[in-house]
Amino acid sequence: MMLAPVTYNLALTTILRKRVLPVDGEVIPKLNQRVAATDVIAEASYSHSHHLIDVARILGIKPNVAEKLVSLHVGEEVSAGTVVATGFGLFSKPIKVEHSGRVVATGGGQVLLDISQKDFQLKAGISGEIIEIIPKRGVVIQEVGGLIQGVWGNGKIARGRLHVLAQKPNEILAASQLDISLRSLVLLAGSCQDTDSLKAAADITARGLILSSIHPMLLDFARKMPYPIIVTDIIGQQAMNASAYKILSTNNQRENVSLNAGAYNRYTGARPEIVIPLPHADIPPVPRDVDLFAPGQAVRLCRAPHAGAKGTLVNLPSGLKTLPNGLRVMAAEVKLDNGERITVPLVNLEVLG
């Protein structure tokens, strides 16, 4: 028995995604409402911006004395200029609030204000129907369509019409390909190996880039781009895996394709994802989260010498196998799509859902 990691490249499936706030807040949409990927579905006051007024220190008095002078209470909304406390004596100036905000704590002659101007907003991430409301926290969204999972994302979310720029899975994106006719589109764009291409995509206000691979030196720059970038296969240079390319290229000009380029987190399972909403008669089954390796599965190889290759698992021999480099490992026999039959370390395989 060996648990298998699963990556989903599915032409038509049912996608369920739970989207929740980090803290309690307000859930905006109603049950059964349709949302777009960029819609805000929940908001919370989750402030990292405070202002501390130390009345005791300002007036040079003991905290227990200062505490009696403070006229504000927890929960009170105050605007700039509101008097916090007034000292003793004829010429004592009142202490005023410098920033508008809400009093979150008082005590010991101190007042702490929450001065954050905007609430934390959670976007839907994918389009779909709200099928469950999680009170104060978020929603479960259901969509039917194509699903492609990536290996890297730059943290942005957007949606738009999908345009196939890369005519083959192994194309390398050039800045010169990105002209104004491609503005506001989600671009299937091959491998990116230079900053100029990323800049050019920003210049034409592309809605997003779907890349097979990206040069490692571009990652920091890619994170700063205003549009989402999802890498499907590898950090480096490699053609897009055939199944992802096929699903994407056969949906050329499809509207409302969503890119949620959230970072890959192996503990939570969150992955960058492309969702292509598709018309459907019935609701297809939801794919399984967990699988065990078994003969007959479609698999993808993640490491050299066949990185990115797709095939079928044909046998799981018992015991350890010796690789050409001398390592002894649990292995699988895989028949690649090109007909070649190879032995691969089991840990270098992922099941294609």
């Binding site: 648990l3 501390l52 030196m217 399972g269 993640c302 490491r303 690789l323």
Partner: protein
């Protein structure tokens, strides 16, 4: 001889971020021995999100190997030995799986209590995300907002000498209290207070309701000159396990199997190193290195004093890209025997980080992986050396202290296809000086033994004595400033059968005197040109030496080891050194 065995078999579970291990220790002829190990992929991460799957897989493997049954048909542990021989009496558990803990350290002075709080944090799987001290020029509200943004799992507070002034520390505690008050209750961190003991009650009163667990321990900086982390490490271990129980499903159950004695692997390994250094006595320093997927861990024992460092940034798994903040692909390429471009090395690092459980399947990739291991270990050791106590035995403060015993684990080292590869990784990365015995922890048993010591004090000692580890080599590495090619050491080995082998070591050279495991011989070492092998410049050494898998290795390549910038010559030398050690 009457047996002093406290209980019979012990099942030791170690939940790593890549691999989960189930190890069986049992009594054979009146002594504890390591019997077998079963391994499975860990399942702490998505989509499994429950360590139980990996633990079950590892135990099932162990059952297949030993023929013994520990799990019932519902895959539950059979918690005591039954009449039919199934089940197990004692279980120990260690864990290194889980995302790196985000830790805020707070203290009074940056170079006193705050430094000790940092040292404590660095002994576990932690990344320090924020520091608060009196030296901090920021306003209180800026410190509060920084801690809120950092969203820590754990806050360590130190400061104040015992019975000393408390007012300054009170300010720090108030800031921490105010910050945690602002956090939603389910996001509040665990807090460890390790400062002025007079403040404990006050801290408990203020912070216990505002944390997800408060641990108080003895002052880690009881005076300006003295640091004492021993007690705080134990509380930190408890705190880390409590955090993991909340973060990772299944940990709670495995902790129950172990009677609530689960420990972080790094802590358990440190305990064994401390025990060994106590056993070996003064003058015999012990070092353990573990090149794990989640972190590189170093534990050094000097006369029962433990120095412990854990570097998640040098882990060989998902955090591997962090290594490029400390070194370059060009520097990693220096360890290769073949020409591989820095770009390819860089790509390798990112691929490995995306697929941390994957392994190299080609000869070239294996070389890159081993080069990464060398570089991670070398830099981790360099970072640790800067914080070592000043009174440890050294020949040169820029070099590794004199360690009589070095234990090494982690899959890159212990699963290398040849023992020569394992040894050369260690020699290149650690660059030991003087005379050291290098021991391979092939099954990553050290954490398990450290945890088992909690249940059974005899087990680790006997298991260590009965071949649970592989004696890899006795390494003699002189320090000498003679010119390249000059004779710096003559080694004469007289075996029990009377045969004598003599080898002369040249500056820049690497030689091996084979001596099989189980053999004992007399070794005479005559240094030339004031070469120092740990007993003084030019001083002769005569000693009894035991056999090992590779034998006695004379490493005259220089300390520090400086690799030539001539790419072709360097690759040839790397190849030659590997060949000398058996390929």
């Amino acid at each position: 001889m009457a047996s002093v065995i406290e209980s019979d078999s012990v099942l030791a579970l170690d939940i790593g971020s890549a691999t989960t291990r189930a190890m069986l220790f049992d009594v054979v002829e009146g002594r504890y021995r390591f019997v077998a190990i079963g391994q499975a992929s860990s399942s702490a991460h998505a989509p499994f999100n429950d360590v139980a799957h990996g633990v079950e897989g590892a135990i099932q493997k162990l059952q297949e190997i030993t023929g013994r049954i520990f799990l019932d048909s519902d895959r539950r542990l059979i918690a005591s030995v039954q009449a039919d021989g199934t089940g197990i009496e004692s279980v120990s558990a260690t864990i290194s799986a889980g995302a790196t803990l985000k830790v805020v350290v707070a203290g009074l002075l940056a170079d006193v209590s705050l430094e000790s709080a940092e040292n404590l944090a660095e002994s576990t799987y932690a990344q320090i995300v924020e520091k608060i001290s009196l030296n901090d020029p920021r306003k209180a509200e800026e410190q509060i907002d920084s801690i809120l943004k950092a969203n820590p799992d754990l806050i360590i507070i130190a400061g104040g000498t015992d019975n000393g002034a408390s007012q300054s520390l009170q300010k720090i505690i108030e800031i921490i209290g105010l910050t945690t008050y602002l956090m939603p209750s389910e996001k509040r961190p665990v807090i460890i207070f390790a400062g002025n003991k007079e403040m404990r009650n006050e801290v408990r009163e203020l912070l216990e309701p505002l944390s997800s667990g408060l641990y108080t321990t003895s002052n880690i900086r009881p005076s300006v000159e003295r640091e004492d982390l021993a007690h705080a490490r134990k509380e930190l271990a408890r705190a880390v396990v409590s955090i993991r129980k909340k973060q990772i499903p299944g940990v709670d159950e495995i902790d129950m199997w172990s009677g609530g004695h689960m420990l972080p692997s790094a802590f358990a390994e440190g305990r064994i190193i401390k025990l060994l250094s106590k056993l070996y006595g003064a003058g015999k320093a012990v070092l353990s290195v573990n090149l794990g997927a989640s972190a590189t861990t170093l534990n050094a024992g000097f006369s029962a004093r433990l120095f412990s460092k854990n570097y998640p940034q040098f882990g060989m798994g998902a955090s591997l890209t962090e290594l490029l903040k400390y070194t370059t692909a060009e520097d990693i390429a220096r360890w290769l025997t073949i020409d591989i471009s820095p770009q390819r090395i860089s790509n390798y690092i990112y691929t490995k980080a995306l697929y941390p459980n994957s392994i190299p399947a080609t000869k070239d990739d294996l070389q890159i992986e081993q080069a990464l291991g060398r570089e991670a270990l070398r830099i981790a050791l360099h970072e640790a050396q800067e914080k070592l106590p000043t009174d440890v035995p050294v020949l040169n403060k820029d070099l590794l202290p004199l360690f009589e015993i070095i234990l090494a684990g982690g899959s890159i080292i212990s699963n290398a296809p040849t023992l020569g590869q394992s040894l050369l990784i260690l020699l290149d990365a650690l660059q030991p000086v003087g005379i050291s015995t290098l021991i391979l922890d092939q099954n990553n048993l050290l954490p398990a033994l450290g945890a088992a010591a909690e249940l059974n004090s005899i087990l680790p000692v006997q298991a260590l004595e009965t071949g649970a580890f592989l004696n890899l080599a006795t390494v003699i590495a002189p320090i000498c400033s003679a010119r390249y090619g000059t004779n710096i050491l003559k080694a004469s080995l007289r075996r029990a059968d009377g045969s004598v082998t003599v080898v002369e070591l040249k500056q820049g050279g690497l030689e091996v005197l084979p001596l099989k495991i189980g053999e004992v011989a007399d070794l005479n070492l005559q240094p030339f040109h004031r070469a120092n092998i740990g007993h003084g410049a030019g001083r002769k050494v005569s000693m009894k030496v035991g056999g090992s898998a590779i034998g006695i290795v004379l490493d005259g390549r220089g300390r520090p080891l400086v690799l030539t910038s001539d790419d072709i010559r360097r690759r040839e030398l790397n190849k030659k050194w590997l060949w000398t050690l058996g390929g």
